[in-house]
């Protein structure tokens, strides 16, 4: 049980229920700030660039990318795995901390879940666009047909992938959305304009806040949470089988599923940290997202970073221990040393060493430092995927087909585009959806003093 007297209050500033509603809904009602408009414009431009790159890919062909007949996957799969990893945080955050009864999650989980949905949507672009014939992407659906019938290959990790990602996106989005229903109702009730009332009212599903509704709401949360908890583990395990099922040295490893899941949570939490620091700063939510929240995330990051370091060491050890010369070459000649050693060491330093700075309380408390480290982790995680993909493919079994890989502007453009889509999504979330789960935060509020001006509580509890 969370003991306020021991660990300090979760919400600072002696809030009452009404204040919470007002504070959280404020960005929705206030005029759009200048920085938002500027960021939105930049993100829109990035998205347009991405759309141009996507157009180029579909209209001209995958030849516009830098991939070749030895390195068949490049930036698109790196970015796919990277985005999926980031998309892990939200659900992992909500579910695992819910299971662990970590009440402090309540002020963060909404933003984390929003991030998940946007990131997974960004990730989903890549498996589609990397197909040579994206217009036939529907072949991957196991639909009944007159060709035999011809079914998909149920043995293929790519098919598992497709199922896992769609399921994850569906469940994450539902979980996020149903969690917002009471909050939409709050906004609806507080809204002054008719349009807003109608729109939020529509999304609130006619929520009245009756006990029966709360009961069903709770039940639904637990059901979805239960499913999502499994998916959090399965989705990235399955993404990892894209590699682990293959015969390619550096891919063919049994450590991949846990390693990928942990890595995903790692990058997801780092991204949550990045976002929360921005939200806190821009929307002055210091009283909800307190320093201790961020410190809690930092502590988790230290722990995961240690797991990552162990995973890297394990991989290298097993490569040596296996005695397979192909594995040895990949790890010792093409990762630790070789053409791509920068990417390898960038990965190790960013993921295994830099987060260790969080052991120092001063670093944890310094938000600028925390922000920078969280960015480093995401860079490091990007390099991890680069490392796995490119080093294994560029030099595999037969030296005759060894080659190098450099991305073209089109691949970079698609990545920039997804960063744009992500930012657009997050900015829209800032503006139109309560960033903090009002109803859940209220549940962890300990009212210490009563505000004389506010005797009646009008908000929903």
């Amino acid at each position: 049980m969370y003991k306020t007297e021991v660990r300090g209050p979760l919400i600072l500033g002696d809030k009452n229920y009404r204040q919470i509603s007002d504070d959280v809904i404020a960005p929705i009602n206030n005029p759009i700030p200048g920085w938002w408009k500027f960021s939105f414009f930049v993100a829109l431009m990035m998205s347009l660039f991405g759309i141009m790159a996507l157009y180029q890919t579909v209209a001209v062909g995958l030849g516009t990318w830098g991939v070749n007949n030895s390195v068949g996957w490049g930036w698109e799969i790196i970015n796919f795995v990277w985005w999926i990893g980031i998309g892990h945080a939200g659900t992992a955050f909500s579910i695992f901390l819910l299971i662990l009864r970590q009440k402090w999650r309540t002020s963060i989980n909404r933003a984390a879940e929003a991030m998940t949905v946007v990131a997974v949507a960004c990730a989903a672009i890549f498996p589609a666009i990397h197909m040579g014939r994206v217009w036939l992407a529907f072949f991957i659906f196991p639909y009944p047909n007159t060709r035999g019938p011809l079914w998909v290959n149920f043995n293929s990790p790519l098919f598992w992938d497709f199922i896992a990602i769609s399921a994850y996106l569906l469940i994450s989005a539902s979980f996020w959305y149903f969690g917002m229903v009471p909050d939409f109702a709050t906004i609806r009730d507080k809204a002054t304009s008719k349009v807003k009332k109608a729109v939020y009212g529509f999304f609130a599903f006619g929520w009245t806040g009756s006990s029966r509704e709360w009961l069903r709401y709770e039940a639904l949360s637990y059901v979805l949470g239960g499913i999502a908890a499994v998916l959090v583990v399965s989705v990235h395990s399955i993404v990892s089988t894209d590699f682990a099922v293959s015969v390619i040295p550096g891919w063919h490893t049994t450590v991949f599923p846990p390693y990928f899941v942990v890595g995903a949570i790692f990058s997801g939490f780092a991204m949550v940290m990045t976002l929360m620091i921005i939200i806190r700063k821009m929307y002055k939510f210091q009283e909800y997202v307190t320093d201790s929240h961020l410190q809690a995330i930092a502590k988790i990051l230290i722990f995961i970073s240690l797991i990552m370091g162990t995973a890297y060491a394990t991989e290298i050890f097993i490569a040596w221990y296996s005695g397979s010369q192909y594995e040895m070459f990949t790890f010792f000649k093409n990762r630790i040393t070789g053409d791509y050693s920068f990417q390898f060491w960038a990965m190790v330093v960013c993921n295994a060493f830099i987060p260790q700075l969080f052991w120092f309380k001063k670093v944890r408390q310094n938000l600028t430092m925390a922000f920078i480290i969280s960015i480093f982790i995401n860079i490091g995680m990007w390099y991890e995927r680069f490392n796995i993909l490119i080093t294994s493919l560029s030099k595999d079994y037969l030296p005759s087909s060894w080659t190098t890989y450099t991305p073209t502007w089109v691949e970079i453009g698609i990545y920039v585009g997804t960063l744009g889509f992500f930012t657009v999504g997050v900015l829209l979330f800032f503006k139109y959806i309560p960033m903090i789960a009002i109803s859940e935060v209220k549940s962890v509020l300990k009212v210490t003093t009563l505000n004389p001006n506010d005797k009646k509580h009008t908000s929903h509890e």
Binding site: N68, R133, A137, F139, V245, S246, V247, L398, S401
Partner: protein, 983 residues
């Protein structure tokens, strides 16, 4: 009288009846034109408006949604006897490009020649081909290179006008007592030679000069000096126990490579219980495939060759107890070699690719001493494919410049490009009154000549050939001339005022000379393509004074460190007449693996001396060449391939590489490919070469397994011990697949494979694989379904080279099949790994998961795309496509199919003939093209099949077998004849 039915009173009384013809669309007009006219004539009514509106709407919808209809699809009324739509016919014919001879079968499908195969009936090439022969079918459809009409000073004229003017000119020159020279490449056609003689009689003053840009003048003149016969004898590599070659790339480009390969591999085969191999020593400057196959390869500078040959001769004389001229190099290698040669007297063969008469005389002396004549060298069947004597061309150019040549007719020669001093030739050409070229393609020379009478492509022509004395073959057209062209023999006949065409002339010539006037003999010969006459053995005796003269004439071996150049004919380009062929352009050189360019090949230490690296640009006599660092290149030498740097030769050749014919020199009566005094400078430029293989070391992996003869004889699985070990470890949880009918497999004998790359072009022709261009090759996106992997081992200065042809291994436990999400790649019940292009969505997972990296992705739409303006971008170029193989769409993965279309064809044939399929009946394109018969295809379920037996051979192994992919391709270890393995 039949009853007459009528449909209108007008018809009954035969009045005002519309002739039926008027109602159909007149010729040359289409429906839209008619409608336009109708609109123009008729006043617009509402009815008309609606009619045309409706029609145009419907046509717009149809036009925008459908392909254009085929305009002329006329079914046969009377089907020609030998044409069945959808069935290919094969016509025996002959390939001769002026230097290289090959007896071929032309595969014609629906009236289009689409593939060239070797003619197994030929005793010369024995069904083998080379890359150049395989690619020749594409040059038929070369829209950018071929001449389409006769021309006068660059303007098109009619054949009649050209004939009148040329005949008048020829008569005028003859009447004035002037000289007209017919300058041709070697002509091996007996009937054409006869015709030229007649032409000389018809026009007094006509002379015939033979000019070969890369000639065998040295050999011809040396044999004239030594034996009184200016011939190239037949080199019987199959009879040789010891083969010593001084710079002769006899497996690649020297004289008759397909034939020599077939003979050579007989001495390198171990699959039929042979217990010995020939011992092959190669002295050479650059790295050739012949040097790569040698048991001992010694890099030498071109200037050292004379001294080495003389040194060997002296050593042999000394060891035989004879007094020789002495001199030359004396070292351990030469001494050891001399011992070996003497021990194999009568079973040894020494050849030299050098064009110096002196060196060739000494080589003759060596062979004479070793009693090779009559054993490994046969003078009864001399090779006739190279007849040019270099000095004759020199004389001609001098005469032209002196103004004593009035007329010049050029037949299959392009001296403005390949003469060592093109300016002198062109200035001489300008002094002639009549200048005419028979060139079938645009080239550097035709812009300087008065008339062009374009010849047909050889697949459009009648011809005959006598590649070796007493060995004849016929060439028949496989298609009617595509353009307004005429073969030179027809032109000559016309100008002589003779009746009848060349076909009649040829047939009569054959009937009289070879067929004993029997039409049936002519027909069977035409069908077989080849005809051999018995010959009697020719004994030769050495003229000893020739030797002492030669020794005196030999240049003293230079010992300096000056850089020397050697230009060579590359596997793909030969002497440069095939340069506009995109298949050959993209064929990687077997050793350097570079395509789409020629380059200055230098050794690593020379690169250090010159302070250059790969990608630098060197200026060699003011020719700027990109640097390629070639391990094994002799120090202080630069090798450069001929055949590139064409100007005005068609769009593929345009601007690719540099012409290095000006680096050749005429000295001591012959033209030398080596240049001992060149000015080499480093430039500031840089240039990246397109290569299909970036890494050259096997990294200690058991990829190409190798052993030496001694160890092999001790235990046949020597070098291949891993195979048995891995076989024991094949365990699986799953039920192993059973193949109930056939189980196709392929065995590749690495001892036979010489890396010549004929298979690569054959596969490209058979399977419609696109050419992707230099840029894409640099991005590792070459589309070849079969590639020749080349690895170096050992010493960097003189590495061992191994070749390994690699195509889809058709794994029975294929990693690619498992990972495809849509089952686009799957396993057939006959053990084939199949691609269904229609199902492929292009995830490329299979490409990644293929340990052999043999899968190819269609990165772009390679057909009908202006960015890939090669053969698949024009209607004409696409005529070469094999209708039995799909042209793949952008975005799908493709790979070797084991020529499934050929498997199906033969299976069907056997089925319709109600008999079991025979072993060796199905031959994939690669195996069929192979001059070394290194590739054997067959059914593993038939224990008697050749491939089953080879799979049982202790030398057999599978590539990366430790991965349990269970490939259907087996490789037989490479066994070299040397003391111990260097690697």
């Amino acid at each position: 009288m039949e009853k007459k039915y009528w449909k209108s009173p007008e018809q009954l009384i035969n009045k005002a009846e519309q002739p039926y013809d008027e109602q159909i669309i007149p010729e040359g007009k289409n429906l839209l034109d008619l409608i336009d006219e109708e609109i123009a004539q008729k006043p617009t009514s509402r009815r008309n408006f609606l009619k045309f509106f409706g029609f145009s709407f419907a046509t717009a919808a149809i036009a925008s949604s459908c392909e254009n209809p085929v305009k002329k699809a006329i079914p046969y009324l009377n089907k020609p006897e030998d044409v069945t739509p959808g069935m290919a016919s094969h016509y025996a014919s002959t390939y001769f490009d002026g230097t290289e001879y090959n007896s071929i079968l032309v595969k014609v499908r629906d009236g289009r020649p689409i593939k060239i195969e070797g003619n197994t009936l030929s005793g010369v090439t024995r069904g083998g081909t080379t890359a150049r022969v395989q690619a020749a079918v594409l040059s038929l459809y070369d829209g950018s290179g071929r001449l389409q009409n006769p021309m006068k000073k660059g303007e098109e004229i009619t054949w009649n006008a050209l004939d009148t003017e040329v005949m008048a000119s020829l008569k005028e020159i003859s009447a004035a007592g002037g000289t007209t020279v017919l300058l041709s490449s070697s002509i091996i056609s007996p009937s054409s030679r006869n015709l030229i003689e007649e032409f000389k009689t018809a026009f007094p003053g006509v002379k015939h000069v033979v000019y070969d840009p890369v000639s065998a003048s040295g050999i011809l003149q040396a044999n004239r000096d030594c034996y009184g016969q200016a011939v190239i004898p037949d080199y019987l590599f199959d009879k040789a126990g010891v083969i010593v070659s001084f710079g002769a790339d006899f497996l690649g480009t020297w004289l008759s490579p397909a034939e020599y390969t077939a003979r050579y591999v007989q001495t390198r085969s171990l699959t039929n219980g042979e217990k010995q191999l020939s011992y092959h020593v190669q002295f050479e400057t650059g790295m050739t495939i012949t040097g790569s196959k040698a048991d001992k390869r010694i890099p030498v500078k071109p200037s050292e060759e004379a001294s080495l040959v003389l040194g060997l001769y002296s050593a042999l004389m000394k060891k035989s107890g004879l007094t020789g001229p002495g001199g030359g190099t004396e070292n351990e290698i030469i001494q050891a070699l001399a011992d070996k040669l003497l021990a194999n007297k009568g079973k040894s063969l020494v050849v030299s690719g050098n064009n110096s008469i002196g060196i060739q005389v000494i080589v003759n002396a060596i062979n004479n001493l070793l009693e090779s004549n009559g054993n490994t060298i046969d003078f009864s069947r001399p090779l006739l494919t190279q007849q040019g004597i270099d000095s004759e061309m020199e004389e001609l150019v001098a005469q032209m410049n002196a103004g004593t040549v009035s007329g010049l007719m050029l037949w299959n020669v392009n001296p403005a490009y390949d003469y060592h001093n093109p300016a002198a030739f062109v200035s001489g050409l300008k002094k002639t009154k009549l200048s005419l070229s028979f060139s079938p393609v645009i080239n550097e020379t035709i812009e300087h000549v008065g008339y062009v009478a374009p010849a047909n492509h050889f697949l459009e022509s009648w011809d005959d050939a006598e590649p070796k004395k007493g060995v004849y073959s016929l060439a028949q057209p496989a298609i009617r001339p595509i353009y307004n062209t005429r073969q030179p023999q027809d032109s000559l006949l016309k100008w002589m005022g003779k009746e009848g065409d060349y076909y009649t002339y040829l047939k009569n010539f054959w009937l009289t000379n070879f067929c004993g006037n029997a039409e049936s003999v002519w027909k069977t010969t035409l069908q077989a393509g080849v005809f051999e006459k018995e010959t009697t053995a020719v004994a030769v005796s050495m003229n000893e004074t020739a030797i002492s003269n030669a020794v005196a004439s030999l240049p003293s071996g230079k010992t300096g460190t000056e850089i020397e150049t050697l230009v060579y004919q590359s596997i793909a380009m030969g002497n440069g007449i095939h340069t506009n062929n995109p298949w050959l352009m993209e064929l990687p050189d077997p050793v350097s693996k570079v395509c789409w360019d020629n380059f200055a090949s230098i050794s690593p230490e020379t690169a250090a001396t010159l302070d250059v690296e790969a990608g630098s640009v060197l200026s060699v006599n003011n020719i700027e060449l990109p640097v390629f660092i070639q391990p094994g290149q002799a120090a202080n030498t630069i090798s450069v391939a001929l055949g590139y740097g064409h100007k005005n030769f068609g769009k593929v050749a345009e601007g690719v590489g540099k012409n290095v014919f000006p680096l050749t020199v005429f000295e001591n009566g012959t033209r030398s490919l080596a240049n001992l005094s060149v000015i080499v400078e480093k430039t500031d430029g840089s240039y990246q070469l397109a290569s299909t293989q970036m890494h050259s070391s096997m990294e200690g992996r058991p990829i190409v397994r190798e052993t030496v003869l001694g160890s092999y004889l001790e235990s046949p699985d020597s070098g291949n011990e891993l195979h048995a070990e891995f076989e024991k470890k094949h365990v699986t949880l799953y039920k192993e697949t059973e193949f109930k009918g056939h189980h196709w497999a392929m065995a590749i004998d690495l001892n036979r494979c010489i890396g010549c790359s004929a298979c690569v072009v054959a596969c490209q022709a058979e399977n419609n694989t696109p050419v992707v261009g230099r840029e894409e090759v640099m991005k590792s996106r070459s589309m070849h379904w079969i590639r020749i992997d080349r690895y170096y081992a050992g010493d960097e200065k003189n590495p061992e080279v191994v070749f390994q042809p690699l195509m889809c291994q058709h794994c029975d436990n294929a990693p690619c099949e498992n990972v495809c999400p849509v089952s686009a790649t799957n396993h057939s019940s006959e053990g084939l790994n199949q691609m269904s292009y229609n199902r492929c969505i292009g995830t490329k997972y299979c490409i990644n998961n293929c340990p052999y990296k043999v899968r190819r992705f269609n990165w772009f739409r390679y057909a009908t795309n202006d960015k890939f303006d090669y053969n698949m971008n024009s209607d004409l170029g696409r005529m070469v496509l094999n209708p039995d193989v799909t042209v793949r769409e952008r975005g799908v993965v493709e790979k070797c199919s084991f020529c499934i279309q050929r498997i199906q064809e033969k299976k069907l044939l056997a089925k319709t003939e109600n008999r079991p399929l025979g072993d060796g009946e199905i031959i994939p394109a690669c195996g069929q093209a192979c001059p070394a018969q290194a590739i054997v295809f067959g059914d593993l379920n038939d224990p008697q099949s050749k491939v089953s037996k080879l799979f049982e051979d202790p030398r057999n192994y599978h590539l990366l077998e430790e991965l349990h992919t269970l490939p259907s391709v087996g490789y037989l270890t490479l066994v070299r004849n040397r003391e111990e393995n260097q690697a």
